[in-house]
């Protein structure tokens, strides 16, 4: 049970949502945007989160789009993970988010919520980091479309008054050869020790990782290592491991050593699987 009182708003348009926030902010209230609500409920009941007002984005039609529009696939922030998988519009994303939580939870968890999660994993962002995706944001200063990489560094760096309307993925990236691998402690329903999304674009591997460090990331240095044709597979992996943005984490899911072992393993599996698609 959530032990505190809060106000609930369900705007029906982007403008109304922005306005609602502004009004509440003038009342000095702590306001949160949310869509699926799984994190709000689970953290709040443990007193690890509180809010005086919450704004539910599920009432906004723009946040529910899931379709090809011109040269892009548009994915609304409030689209559930299961819907993305079932649509088969972007198989790499579909496969990646299918490994998040369990089926029942994925009926609720939305792509926007996953990318803006308080957890360190945010696996839904991995395929987007590889595909030159853009995001459409709303806020007091209006709506704007920006490349994901501009606002995403370790996490989505947007201000509390902003929210995500949708994601745009260029069509050219939707059906490239890809690999999605997640290694867990034991049960498939669990946080990743290593999670990778990778694809081949113009004969080069692009790869993004989650679970390895404190945040999901895509690293040009690691990709350079993986694409260095002068090296053997093992050398590529060793070189890639030297390019991690920070130390490998050590937590309840796995020790640092075992995580490193699994990371090597996963990179090898990734290279081999992607090579197989090129022959």
């Amino acid at each position: 049970m959530i032990p505190f009182d809060f106000e609930y708003y369900r705007p029906e348009s982007v403008t109304e949502a922005v306005k609602t926030y502004e009004i509440l902010a003038t009342q000095d209230k702590k306001v949160l945007f949310y869509s699926g609500g799984t994190e709000f409920i689970t953290f709040s009941r443990l007193n690890q989160l509180d809010a005086e007002a919450i704004i539910d984005l599920k009432g906004i039609p723009d946040c529910h789009q899931l379709e090809l529009q011109g040269e892009h696939l548009v994915i609304g922030a409030a689209v559930s993970l299961n819907k993305i998988t079932e649509s088969q519009l972007f198989p790499l994303l579909g496969q990646t988010v299918r490994k998040v939580a369990d089926h029942t939870s994925r009926n609720k968890i939305t792509i926007g919520g996953n990318i803006l999660s308080r957890f360190i994993y945010r696996e839904g962002v991995l395929p987007l980091l590889l595909t030159e995706a853009k995001v459409k944001l709303a806020g007091s200063s209006g709506e704007r479309v920006v490349p994901l990489k501009v606002v995403f560094d370790k996490q989505m760096n947007i201000s509390p008054e902003q929210f995500l309307i949708h994601i745009q993925v260029p069509k050219a990236f939707l059906n490239l050869p890809f690999v999605s691998i997640k290694k867990t402690r034991m049960s498939k329903v669990g946080y990743p020790i290593v999670s990778i999304a990778a694809l081949v674009k113009d004969k080069k591997i692009r790869a993004a990782l989650s679970g390895v460090c404190e945040y999901p990331f895509r690293s040009p240095d690691i990709e350079a290592a993986l694409n260095d044709t002068s090296l053997s597979k093992e050398e590529k992996i060793d070189k890639a491991l030297g390019q991690l943005p920070e130390a490998i984490i050590d937590d309840l899911q796995a020790s640092r050593d075992y995580r490193e072992f699994l990371l090597k393993n996963t990179l090898l599996e990734t290279i081999e699987a992607l090579e197989a698609t090129q022959t």
């Binding site: 049970m1 443990l46 402690r185 034991m186 049960s187 498939k188 329903v189 309840l252 020790s255």
Partner: protein, 781 residues
């Protein structure tokens, strides 16, 4: 004699609770609300071992709707089922992370929760005892300074003052020391795992009120309603007759609801608000760590054999991590000793089983009550010994399988009635797992398929006067109601009992109505619904009640039919003349007495009652363990086949096999389901469950996000269950207990299979891929 067309025993009858459960209409304890109900929430300890310097409740009182705040000072006494060592609310000191410190009672649950968060406790931290091994050291900090002074509730508990030993049980059988010297082959191994949890689907919940007449009315998720009465009487001075306990269906228990924790808390809460009804419902997090869980263990086993593989001597040292209080872990310590060898004939046995206090959440009974735990250690040792002897592990088990004529570690004499057929179980399991196809096979895609086997036994260590009663009450339509205080917690007991009634009365099972809820005021006394004892204890009581009803029916019928009772038979909803079955009377015409054509009536309603009490059980001798602890030993063999991936050490469980000799199987469908559920529980515990503690004794995974279990879809691809039905002469229709058995051999079988697959000794649980990887790395170094 006519063929009985109403046979029910041995038939796969549908469970009588199936439709309601499938429809989702069953109401559990937490589903009920009544006007005026108050809600309780606990403030719990954030330290594993600390002195309580002060508890400040002033902020909490400011929350609107708060009616009462109860702290340990208001009831500074110890309670417990075996050794009274646990204060319901901590006072003076806390001994585990998550321990109840105070109860807030408020109009609404959220108010109570808000207020509970505002209770501020000032602690003075004490050094933490973080494992059974640490607790056993002579200079270990003491968790209970005066354990020698605690009241013993039952015999066979021996706390050692000035140590962390909550109890010490010994077995001294034969001459271990001499026999050990003469063994050709000796091995010694140590095994361990941490505490874990039952994680039943339904978290614990209770409602308690004290009505103006002084009656204490309890509604609870419990396996032990009569124990709640006993505890409230013993420690709170309430007359037993003034305590009424109601139990609806239970959403899984696995032993975790066998002990009494919430009810005294809710009683104190109700008392603090003038007796109003108070509901205390645990969150999943509280259910995991504030409520008692499953023991941890460090076991060291030494086995000695001759060259042929015959076991000559066994030494067993069990350090049971019981957490902060002994609760049922003291009984588990005893159970671990009395069946310490597993189902093997070993003439010379030396066992020391210690119940160790630590600063972990406390432990209580867990399905199998010491047996899944000891079997893991014993069966790993047996595999290791087989390798050393260069014997097939199956062969080694067969050579040593215990048989009628042998005796148990406590020197109880075993015979063909009280012991199942171990060898037949081994043979059948060996066949079902295709043992002869190879224990370890490398597949074309670089994986390894491997098999592991585990043989087990268990007796039910009930109280020596454990008992059950049953009442059969007839309806005007000739159908019958069965009242019995066995709890339905998903195991199917009520269906089994209905089958016994149908069979004995030779009536359609649809005409047997079983009261699913238990009410201690109207139901006959029942010890508890634990220890795989219901089919046996309640079954015997039900048969006894049937016989009583039959004799009443015959008596009334003999008047109606103007004949002697001896000439009559009951069956098919009638009482009829044996030599002329066409001549008889319908039960519906005599169920409420017989009415003559002239209106006169005789005899009145048929109310059958029956009872059964354990026979000839004894406590164990303090120095040698000598005694008869249980009525029978069901035995079995389990096997597991895994597919292990050497690349990342991950694995899948392909197959799990159970062959059980539980005597006559009353319902093969529910029995099979029981075994599958047990296998699932055992595999989940063995493969991934367990609390993770930091150096301060804090539980790092007190929620299901991080306390991981086998999920739906991850169970073995194939469950194979088979039964050997060596009848027990004194069991109802030849049945012994089977409830816990599916879980017992799983950890041993899985650890054996994975050890074979990875070619390392896996002696610790849970069997995570990381553990296998680490063990391999260390063995290569």
């Amino acid at each position: 004699m006519l063929e009985n067309p109403w046979l029910s025993i041995g038939k796969p009858e549908q469970r009588i609770d199936a439709v309601e459960k499938a429809a989702g209409t069953v109401r559990y304890t937490a589903d009920y609300s009544v006007p005026g109900l108050l809600h309780a929430k606990l403030a719990t300890s954030t330290q594993a071992h600390a002195k309580i310097k002060a508890i400040d409740v002033s902020e909490a009182w400011k929350v609107p709707g708060v009616r009462a705040i109860v702290t340990g000072k208001m009831f500074p006494y110890h309670i417990g089922p075996i050794l009274a060592d646990r204060p319901p609310l901590a006072f003076e000191k806390v001994r585990y992370y998550g321990e109840p410190l105070a109860i807030v009672v408020a109009d609404q649950e959220y108010m109570a929760k808000q207020a509970a968060q505002l209770i501020h406790v000032k602690y003075e931290p004490l050094p933490v005892v973080n494992s059974a091994r640490e607790a056993f050291q002579t200079d270990a900090p003491l968790i209970h300074e005066n354990s020698g002074k605690y009241m013993k509730i039952i015999s066979n508990v021996y706390p050692v003052q000035g140590t962390n030993i909550g109890s010490h049980i010994k077995i001294r059988k034969g001459d271990f020391i001499t026999a050990w010297e003469n063994c050709d082959i000796k091995i010694k191994q140590t095994f361990s795992f941490n505490l874990s949890d039952h994680a039943a689907l339904e978290p614990r919940c209770t409602r308690v009120e004290i009505n103006p007449a002084g009656k204490v009315v309890v509604h609870s998720t419990t396996q032990s309603p009569f124990t709640i009465k006993k505890v409230l009487n013993q420690f709170f001075n309430i007359d037993v007759g003034n305590i009424i306990v109601h139990v609806p269906l239970i959403g899984g228990a696995f032993g975790g609801k066998g002990t009494v924790q919430l009810e005294p808390l809710a009683y104190l809460a109700s008392k603090a608000v003038g007796g109003r009804m108070v509901k205390l419902e645990f969150t999943r997090e509280e259910d995991l760590i504030t409520a008692p869980g499953h023991i941890g263990l460090e076991a060291t086993i030494a086995l000695g054999a001759n060259k042929a593989g015959k076991l000559m001597a066994g030494q067993y040292t069990y350090l049971i991590d019981s957490g902060a209080y002994t609760d049922q872990a003291a009984g588990i310590t005893r159970a671990m000793a009395l069946d310490c060898t597993g189902p093997y004939d070993i003439p010379n046995v030396w066992c020391d089983s210690y119940c160790m206090y630590t600063n972990h959440p406390y432990a209580t009974s867990f399905r199998g009550y010491a047996h899944p735990e000891l079997t893991f250690a014993v069966e790993r040792t047996m595999d290791k010994l087989a390798h050393k002897l260069k014997l097939d592990p199956v062969e080694l088990r067969k050579i040593n399988a215990i048989k009628p004529g042998n005796s148990s570690p406590t020197s109880a004499v075993l015979n063909a009635n009280n012991l199942g057929d171990v060898e037949k179980c081994i043979d059948q399991a060996k066949k079902l797992i295709d043992w002869d196809q190879g224990e370890r096979l490398e597949t074309a895609d670089g994986k390894v398929k491997a098999k592991g086997i585990s043989t087990f036994w268990k007796t039910s260590t009930t109280a020596t006067n454990a008992q059950s009663g049953a009442v059969l009450k007839f309806e005007a339509d000739g159908s019958v109601n069965l009242n019995c205080a066995a709890i339905e917690l998903g195991q199917g007991s009520k269906t089994i009992l209905a089958q016994m009634v149908a069979e004995r009365l030779k009536m359609d099972i649809k005409k047997v109505h079983v009261t699913m809820e238990v009410n201690t005021q109207s139901d006959p006394h029942q010890w508890r619904t634990v220890a795989s004892s219901t089919t046996f204890l309640a079954g015997r009581a039900v048969m006894n009640a049937c016989d009583d009803a039959i004799s009443q029916l015959k008596r009334t019928a003999s008047i109606a039919l103007q004949c002697s009772m001896e000439d009559l038979e009951v069956g098919g909803g009638r009482v009829y003349l044996k030599p002329s079955p066409e001549y008889g009377v319908k039960i519906q015409d005599i169920a409420l007495g017989y009415k003559y054509p002239n209106g006169h009536a005789v005899e009145g309603q048929v109310v059958g009652h029956g009872r059964y009490i354990q026979r000839h059980l004894t406590p164990m001798d303090k120095d040698t363990g000598f005694g008869k602890p249980g009525p029978w030993w069901s035995v079995g063999t389990q096997a597991v086949e895994v597919e292990w991936d050497p690349a990342d050490c991950s694995y899948k469980i392909l197959k799990a096999v159970t062959v059980l000799d539980g005597g006559k199987i009353i319902n093969p469908m529910t029995a099979t389901q029981q075994m599958r559920g047990g296998m699932y529980l055992g595999l989940s515990f063995a493969s991934q469950e367990g609390f993770i503690f930091d150096q301060n004794g804090t539980v790092l995974n007190p929620q299901l996000r991080t306390y991981q279990m086998v999920r739906f879809g991850e169970q073995p691809a194939e469950y194979i269950v088979d039964f050997i039905e060596t009848p027990a002469a004194d069991g109802p229709f030849g049945a012994r207990g089977i409830g816990e058995y599916g879980v017992i051999g799983m950890a041993g079988a899985l650890a054996n299979a994975l050890s074979t697959a990875a070619q390392v000794e896996l002696n610790h649980l849970p069997l995570l891929p990381e553990l296998i990887w680490k063990t391999r790395k260390e063995s290569q170094a």
